[in-house]
Symmetry: C2
Subunit: 480 residues, 2 copies
């Protein structure tokens, strides 16, 4: 007889969910690494793993908070600047028992206040700390909100395709229905409202009530930045359709062009005035894992709720309580992120030098990578306007698709595995994010060190050209 935790007896929703970012490619890459092969992990936006140095000032502050007895040591000034010491004392005063005590399940009230002040400075509208919850990374916040919304398989969540698989996996895990809306690759991954309406109509015809819509701005894996006009259309659409908008804005600091700066969904909503600004339900997500911080391993994030009624907020608070509190060190990182050194502070120059250095290099790498991909046979790639990824389309010849079928693999998985074996570059196949039928992509981060980038792109080009040489029909395979 099968036992309670044998595979056949497990929760079907658990079995159904897929998470490609750490899927087959990642597992194979880990194996190859164990065998001694040098692997370039570009499968996940994990900057420090690829050599990005942490910002000095926030690390100094959190180190002091972890070892507060240093504050009483006469030698502390030899290792720490005075403003880091002052900040550490400030954050310790916001806790009730230092980093070792559970905080309120929503996070430290003092840090939530700093987040609200940041949002107000950013958007020009006040924000209420009581509607801000700190979380162990943005993913945990997204999962918590989706858990509150999804009641069963007839509840639909609009998700962009291609999408970040956190959404598809979580919706599957919670037993809801993913309602895809397609981003338009030829329009630089723009969002078309007509297409959105069609998606909703189709879902309705299948008995699905669309209850929420996810936007990822800047886009993951697609890298586009949404325009103000586009955001307005989206907000109006959500309002008309009684849909809560989930704004994944974790890449808001990662912008690599000047034409379309980041603008938050909340600011656009507030700009639109009554009645929509008092009615539309919005939850916005942010993190310390991205931007020029890249503090992924700390697991810090927040969500801010707009127009969510107090009784619903209470329910979300109650569920947050079950796991007691988000980790406290990352709450301090969040405070520091929304309240960084100011001009005149001892650490200001250094902080600016470090953060600008990272962002400017990311901008150059975004360009290097786009250009590199576009120089390859059968590869076309939109420019990475924001976020941390390049998402080239790989036009696979029919013979390659056939060979993949023979090997029992999806065609882009086949391509990415060959790429991995040949070059050590660990990417994620486009099928992990969703893509139109018969079209293939891969996702790579733009995070490898800038000095390594030319060699990586050369290595990719060499592999790709040989692959195309091998599988292309020389009698005249024409581009799609």
């Amino acid at each position: 007889m099968a036992k309670a935790m044998d595979y056949e007896n497990l929760n079907e929703n658990v079995k159904k969910c897929q998470y490609a970012v750490r899927g087959e490619l990642y597992l194979r890459a880990s194996e190859l690494q164990k065998e001694g092969k040098k692997i370039i992990f570009t499968n996940v936006g994990n900057p420090h793993a690829l050599g990005q140095k942490p910002l000095t000032f926030p690390r100094q502050v959190v180190a002091l908070c972890q070892a507060p007895f240093m504050l009483d040591d006469p030698n502390v000034g030899l290792l720490f600047p005075a403003d880091a010491i002052a900040k550490a004392k400030h954050y310790l005063s916001l806790t009730s028992g230092g980093l070792g005590a559970y905080s309120d399940s929503r996070g430290l009230p003092g840090v939530r206040k700093e987040v609200a002040e940041f949002i107000e400075r950013r958007d020009g509208y006040p924000s209420d700390p009581e509607l801000i919850f700190l979380t162990d990374g943005a993913s945990k916040g997204v999962m918590q909100i989706l858990n509150t919304i999804i009641r069963g398989s007839s509840d639909g969540i609009l998700v962009p395709v291609p999408q970040y698989p956190l959404y598809s996996a979580t919706i599957a895990l919670l037993g809801g229905s993913l309602v895809p809306y397609y981003l338009e690759e030829t329009a630089n991954w723009g969002l078309d409202i007509v297409n959105l309406r069609q998606s909703v109509a189709q879902a309705r015809s299948q008995g699905i009530t669309v209850r929420a819509m996810v936007i990822i701005n800047p886009g993951n894996p697609t890298g586009q930045c949404l325009s103000e006009a586009n955001l307005k259309e989206i907000l109006r659409f959500c309002y008309q359709n009684n849909v809560v908008l989930l704004g994944d804005e974790v890449y808001q600091q990662n912008i690599y062009q000047d034409e379309r700066p980041f603008i938050s969904a909340r600011k656009v909503l507030m700009d639109m005035g009554a009645p929509i600004n008092k009615e539309l339900q919005l939850v916005s997500f942010h993190t310390v894992s991205k931007g020029y911080w890249g503090e992924c391993g700390q697991r810090g994030g927040y969500f801010e709720m707009t127009n969510i009624p107090p009784k619903a907020v209470e329910e979300i608070y109650k569920v947050a309580s079950i796991a007691l509190s988000p980790n406290v060190p990352a709450q301090i990182f969040m405070g520091l992120m929304v309240n960084p050194p100011k001009p005149g502070d001892i650490s200001y120059e250094r902080f600016i030098r470090e953060s600008k250095g990272i962002l400017e290099s990311l901008r150059r790498r975004a360009q290097l990578m786009t250009d590199g991909f576009n120089s390859c046979r059968n590869v076309v790639c939109n420019f990475t306007e924001g976020a941390m990824y390049s998402f080239p389309q790989i036009r696979l010849p029919p013979k390659a698709i056939e060979a993949a079928q023979k090997a029992g693999k999806v065609a882009d998985v086949f391509y990415c595995l060959k790429l991995l074996e040949a070059t050590g570059i660990s990417t994620v196949p486009g099928s992990g994010f969703g893509q139109k039928e018969g079209v293939f992509h891969l996702r790579t981060t733009i995070l490898p060190a800038e000095e390594d980038m030319p060699a990586i792109m050369d290595s990719f080009k060499k592999f790709n050209d040989e692959f195309m040489e091998q599988y292309e029909d020389h009698k005249g395979y024409s581009r799609m």
Copy 2:
């Protein structure tokens, strides 16, 4: 029309779950604190919030890992002992990018290896790091495993009553069925197998398949330590009934008597030999939040799986991947907890002095509190053999029960609210943990500072005696 995130439209399972540890009493205590009243928060096992100092050595190591640039500073030796520096280098070498990089979703392989070695030393049987997952606190691990097991309302989970509400809340959230088994207060909260069989039979008659059984050892809120004989019975029972055993062993370092030392479910299982040691499915949980560490705010924990087949382990790994990785600093704390300073290390003496100091004081406090409660009118209390709680029975007079009914409160909530208003002592009513019909308790931690304990118990006694005076029928209310 109600909107998607209005209360009436939320997931019913979210609304159904209860979490008393941060429920009505906690919320009222927080309000009173805001109004300036001095509150003694004994509602949650949060030692640092009540003044327990963190252990110095682990904090030094994690501070160095947070600010690794200090390792290159010639002055580092003025603030940190050489063994802390060496340990920090060791743990940094186990990461791929320091504390700012996501780890493997199961946690750092090197730390999981150290956990496995700890388990082997503790139990005398080898443990496999591949079957150990690090988590953001033990609660998150419990939630993850229950999510893997529970498929719907006909899946039952055996939970002790009184129980820690993590279990009832999570089972409600996941839409499963809680199958209670009652602990016997008069037998020092012992577990009776006959009673367990009755619970299972009753659940079956209602169409519920019992799939897992939770034990909390040492007990929360009840403080008992399970004997080896009792654990054997439980394991045999689980084996006969095809039930996976979930062993919540987070209080394994918190033992306040010598007759019944902690013994892990896994050790007893292995001692029992074939076939049960190869068959019975067991998941054991541990944390850095309890013991003499009390590092609650760091959110670190692990679970270890025994006899769970690889295909099921893979599914659990996949679900863990969705939120990318547990926080890395707490993984280091876990490594340090299972691998503390050794005799001969520079920091050994200090570490032992600090940890013994905490444990011995907890032991004295456990006794002080039990004795204090037992000296009060209409209060009887079992001795806290382990864990961090005292769980006295409060024999409420009929008039008090009537007054509570009039006030629209459960009787023990009524009592605990009055206690809070009168003394500032914030406890959790027994109804939040489950108790037999008509019997009332409260839970308090034994964590207030030792020097404050006599005053707290006096204040409790004064309140209780006045309460009993007010509500007791002087014509001869007899004890139940």
